[in-house]
């Protein structure tokens, strides 16, 4: 095999990969993925909470992990809105408040009738992790006297009867590390008895699986992009996670096909050599 042929082969592989990854991004396939039980659990928690109830979504990450966690935020906000639930956004990470704003902005395009203050509110970032959550469990208004825009919490319609964590139907923590989902489990669930679910990056997900147990310390978990795509499948949306997952799957399949072709080629070369040797 001449090196020139090798070079051409390489270029074909590179070109194929480029096309194969680009296409699903522009023209989403929307492959239905099989839903894993932990994602189903998280979905059920939102699905079975009553209309008009209030949920807390905690944005405990920053742009560096947004690729994996932001699609989860989209999907879970959309699900809650479609069930007519209201959302309080908080953040244990400084840049979480921006992530929340971005996520609401994205979803509002689909729900033009939802309005700030009656259907959702962004309370912003508070330092302190565990201690802050404990304080929220007693009196949320002392922790967040005003929302992220500076509006006094007394003037926000949907918070009139919302005094502490126990009033929340469930808590979602989208968490890239500490403080994050672990603190919400330990304070939100273990101390105040609110159901906690959430999402993490694929890498850190295995560490939280032990919390999904008989006591339901953690009510399901989304781990990484794949889980976000599964959640999108459950709410019948072809969102950014599904699209990216499509691109992933196609790329993986292409690589497998390449390996098969490579083997066929190697087999042919070997047979040719063997035949030539016999001929000698």
């Amino acid at each position: 095999m001449s090196s020139k042929a090798n070079l051409v082969e390489r270029r074909i592989i590179f070109g194929l990969l480029f096309i194969v990854v680009t296409m699903p991004l522009i023209f989403p396939i929307g492959w239905k993925t099989e839903v894993s039980p932990h994602v189903q659990m998280a979905y059920d928690l939102v699905e079975n909470s009553p209309q008009g109830s209030i949920a807390i979504i905690s944005f405990d990450y920053d742009p560096s992990t947004a690729t994996e966690l932001q699609p989860m935020a989209y999907a879970m906000i959309e699900h809650a809105f479609s069930k007519n639930q209201k959302i309080i956004a908080v953040a244990l990470w400084p840049q979480g408040a921006q992530m929340a704003d971005e996520a609401f902005g994205q979803i509002l395009a689909k729900f033009p009738d939802k309005s700030y203050g009656t259907d959702y509110v962004n309370l912003g970032y508070k330092t302190g992790g565990m201690v802050t959550i404990q304080a929220m469990g007693r009196d949320i208004k002392s922790v967040f006297p005003a929302d992220v825009k500076g509006t006094s919490i007394q003037d926000i319609a949907m918070l009139k009867t919302f005094n502490n964590l126990k009033n929340a139907a469930y808590i979602v923590s989208l968490s890239a590390g500490d403080p994050g989902i672990k603190q919400w489990i330990m304070a939100g669930h273990d101390m105040f008895g609110v159901s906690v679910t959430g999402g993490t990056t694929a890498v850190s997900a295995p560490g939280f699986l032990p919390y999904i147990n008989q006591q339901n310390q953690l009510y399901g978990l989304l781990g990484g992009l794949k889980a976000a795509a599964e959640y999108e499948a459950l709410i019948n949306v072809i969102g950014s996670a599904t699209v990216k997952m499509d691109a992933q799957s196609v790329a993986h399949i292409l690589i497998i096909i390449l390996v098969v072709i490579g083997n066929i080629k190697a087999y042919k070369i070997r047979r040719k050599k063997a035949l030539a040797a016999q001929g000698d």
């Binding site: 990969l17 993986h252 390996v259």
Partner: protein
């Protein structure tokens, strides 16, 4: 003298570092972190050497009009632009010699240094990194060939894991009855990662640590000393 004294110095420093690992009492408790922070300062000074080397190599190529000299000139210009911008108006929250350059910021949206960082450097870095996607495909195509028993093991475990990580792979084996759960792609992926993979990684880590032990000891007692140059 030019070689013996530094050798003795290496020995002393090495021994003190090892000793202080076991001694919680002051001053030993602080030695290792102090030496590590010193490293930052020493290498900070040395940075200048690298820069001079870069400028020297590139400018000699430009001066002698070597092949491709235009690009080396572009490299030099980029380097000096970045350094001058950084020195004059600083980066992010840090002010430079001329302060924060508010008027430029009004016009550019951010500091010139940060503008170049965000719009050139970050894209260059991310794109270079993303080349890996292409190379991992071409490497797989070439390497995962049925040849010997060993290379088959490599290929089979790679394919199981590649498939097991996507929804497609899970689908392939989802028809299997619950009884045969251990044959499912995702289970096999986890199994390989958890047991044989961990075993091999551990073996590499343990023996490499012994290699590091031997190497470090040879350096400390002065058997290995090529980095100190010659006596002349």
């Amino acid at each position: 003298m030019k070689r013996t004294l530094p050798m003795i110095l290496t020995f002393l420093v090495g021994m003190i570092v090892i000793l202080s690992e076991f001694i919680p009492h002051f001053p030993f408790s602080k030695i290792n972190s102090t030496l590590e922070s010193w490293y930052l300062i020493i290498s900070g000074f040395a940075m200048l050497l690298g820069l001079i080397s870069l400028v020297r190599v590139n400018s000699s190529k430009v001066a002698s009009k070597e092949e491709n000299w235009q690009y080396y000139l572009a490299g030099l210009i980029s380097l000096f632009t970045m350094v001058i911008f950084g020195l004059l108006w600083g980066m992010q929250e840090t002010a430079g010699l001329l302060g924060h350059g508010e008027s430029i910021q009004n016009w550019l949206g951010k500091k010139p240094f940060d503008y170049l960082f965000d719009n050139a450097y970050l894209h260059l870095s991310a794109t270079m990194f993303s080349l890996l996607a292409f190379f991992i495909a071409s490497a797989a195509y070439r390497a995962f060939i049925i040849r010997s028993f060993e290379s088959n093991l490599l290929m089979i475990s790679a394919i199981i894991v590649i498939l097991g990580r996507t929804s497609f792979g899970t689908m392939l084996t989802s028809w299997l009855p619950q009884r045969l759960y251990f044959l499912q792609m995702s289970y096999m992926t986890d199994f390989i990662m958890k047991y044989p993979n961990t075993a091999a990684q551990r073996a590499i880590m343990i023996s490499a640590a012994l290699g590091i032990f031997g190497s470090s000891l040879r350096i400390i007692i002065g058997i290995e000393r090529s980095y100190l140059g010659s006596d002349k």
